[in-house]
């Protein structure tokens, strides 16, 4: 019975801790996202060798390039956590710097992905070349979409930091954005291995 008991987060008078609730909700949402990316990755695993007449993964991937962009995304987790740290210490100036740095790294990653996609299309791999192409573009594209949303959230948070709205709220915006951002990074860790490295 105790297996399901959880800390009673409700305060007296029903004044629950809003920031705790939001963090909890974010974790639940991320749990759901695991299944979303799981489905996409499963589709990819099923189709990774079905290349038809189109280029195969080994022929087309540029592993050194992707390794660098993966590394950049990985390091954005570091800047994110440092931003989170300064937010906790209420060091708004540093926080803004780190958040913008994170957003910048995210945008570099996205630019790399755009470049990569363009290259692939030139080399003859599009969404309708083969099931491999469909699965690859939809999986990485979906991840890219998540990164883009994350960049927007980071920018919005940083801007709110400038205008002072963040401080008034006292919620946990940076905490939430951080969770989301790290999750997107974690997904890329899996994609990098499953999609790219296994194809070498």
């Amino acid at each position: 019975m105790t297996a399901m008991t959880t800390p009673d987060l409700a305060g007296p008078g029903g004044h629950h801790d809003v920031s705790e609730a939001r963090k909890l909700a974010m974790w639940a949402f991320l749990g759901s996202e695991v299944l979303l990316f799981g489905s996409l990755i499963t589709t990819f695993l099923l189709y990774r060798t079905r290349v038809g007449d189109g280029p195969s993964a080994a022929e087309i991937f540029d592993i050194p390039f992707t390794s660098i962009s993966s590394f950049i995304l990985l390091m954005s987790s570091l800047t994110m956590v440092l931003g989170h740290h300064s937010w906790e210490r209420k060091d708004w100036r540093q926080m803004r710097v780190w958040l913008l740095a994170t957003a910048g790294l995210g945008m570099i990653f996205l630019a790399g992905q755009v470049f990569e996609f363009t290259e692939f299309v030139h080399e003859g791999l599009t969404v309708s070349t083969s099931p491999f192409g469909s699965a690859f573009f939809v999986l990485t594209g979906f991840h890219g979409l998540h990164v883009a949303v994350g960049v927007m959230m980071l920018m919005a948070t940083a801007i709110m930091g400038f205008t002072g709205k963040l401080r008034e709220d006292g919620g946990m915006n940076v905490g939430l954005v951080g969770l989301y951002w790290h999750f997107v990074d974690v997904v890329w860790i899996v994609i990098f291995t499953v999609v790219y490295l296994l194809a070498v």
Partner: protein
Amino acid sequence: MATLTPQAPSPASTAAPGRGGIWEWITTTDHKKIGILYGFSSILFFVVGGVEALFIRLQLAVPNGEILSADAYNQMFTMHATTMVFLVVMPIASAFANYFLPLQLGARDVAFPRLNAFSYWLYLAGALFLTVSFFVGGGADGGWFGYAPLSTQVTEVVRMDYWSLGLQVLGVASIASSVNFITTVLTMRAPGMTLMRMPVFSWMVFIISFLLLFSLPMVTVGLIQVFLDRNIGTLFFDAANGGDPVLWQHLFWLFGHPEVYVLILPAMGIVSEVLPTFARKPLFGRSFVIFSGIAIGFMGFGVWAHHMFTSGLGPVAEAAFALTTMFIAVPTGVKIFNWLGTIWGGSLELNTPMLFSLGFIFLFVIGGLSGVTHSIVPADSQQHDSYYVVAHFHYVLFGGAIFGIFSGIYYWFPKVFGKLLNERIGKVNFWLMFIGMNLTFAPMHVLGLNGMPRRTYRYAEGLGLDVWNLVATIGSLVLALGIAVFLYNGWRTFRKGEVAGPDPWDARTLEWTTSSPPPEHNFDRIPVVHHEDDFWHQKYTTDEEGRAVAIPADLRPVVAEGPDEDIHLPSPSYHPALAGLGIFVMLLGLVYVPWGLIAVGVGGIGFLWGMFGWSLEPLVRGDH
């Protein structure tokens, strides 16, 4: 991030500015109002789905029926199922959950009131979007399960675009409300309300929230793949080019089977509330009922491939899924036995809510047993996609889910609207539905065994199908009459219903401690909970023999005087509705690319406006 903004605290006195009317409903963030919105919308779609069902039955009344064309028939059965599953049973469970989850937990609202409103408007956007398709070239016609490559085959006709986009939006709405309910349960319970003291209905809502949270993403991916296959030429389900249609079946049923439990568990929760109230006994083996609900939830994820027993999974997978499917009968059986244990030795008040709950048990047993026959893979290879299956799941979903929901409506109507539904009409309603239901669906067992496949718009004479089809059609008319009686009962009650007090049934849970309907802030003072069925323990104690002894009113524990000092209620907001409207316009645009991209842009602006307004709102109002 925007979707997770907290409720805007504002004093109760200013919570309902005098704008009134429709605007008040559009901007409401009150979980009770949102619950009512959900309720009325789903009753409306219940009528729509019912009319679709009647068309189907009239067409099949005689061999080679000519009421509908094949095209119209295919739209009818596709939209009947889609409507009933996504626009009726799920949202009506959401209606009950919205209204009663906070009340049962002793909370003032759900964790995220505006996210809650957003869920509703998103649901409405998706529902209207699906229904709109009827007026622009026809409703979806690929079956509610949308098997690829049939659903991706004809891209010139946009019906399945409506279907795949509409379902995705409904899915997002459900994920949002699941996150909301989970957080509500984990953070908003009144002091002393441990999880094991939580009412069983709340428990079932908690469980289905997890089911939806983890199952919907999978079908979302499938739906995206269908949409992309149709619109940008991806090859996910194109067998000629190496795609595999069976992938869709996995993704769909990985969602589709947990979904079945999403439909039935709330009804089981309702029955578990109604039986103890009218049997005057606590729920028998309460923890067994809760844990069997959890078990059903978990196991619901492990049986999806039994929908694919004829797809060619191979004998090992078939045997494995046969066993898991059989095993799910165990927790289901536990529930039924515990309900029997609850009424055994009680003092049964056979009023309408109770009749519907007892009817639920009676019919669900039949549906459960025919469900076991599906796990017998060889037998299932005969019954699969035949009318036998149609019979089975209507016993579960109509005899089960809908009867449970009707029980809930009769049970909680006085709490929501302050008036009792008429008992005499209610009984007529019950018996018409009970008889109609059996007349309609029992013959379908025979039809299936006689070899009638599902989703066929006509059948030839001489196949031994004539008589039972006619009986089923007559039954469906009786059923329709029963539902008409119900609608009349509701309409009549609004006009001249008997006024209900706060606790008309002498019930057991916290929602009955407040007035009917409850005040906007639910409880003057947040209750402190000491027992399961806490309200009952405030009214009764037991003697040495374990019999209930009423506590005289003047001896009941005194609740502290006066309301809480600062009652925080969420402020109204039009942003969720605006974001929902934006999504609706965007969806319409997506169907008609490239010209529709203009609509996508317009809708996108509306959506972003709603989102940004929403996320900035509390910052403006919160600290004034």
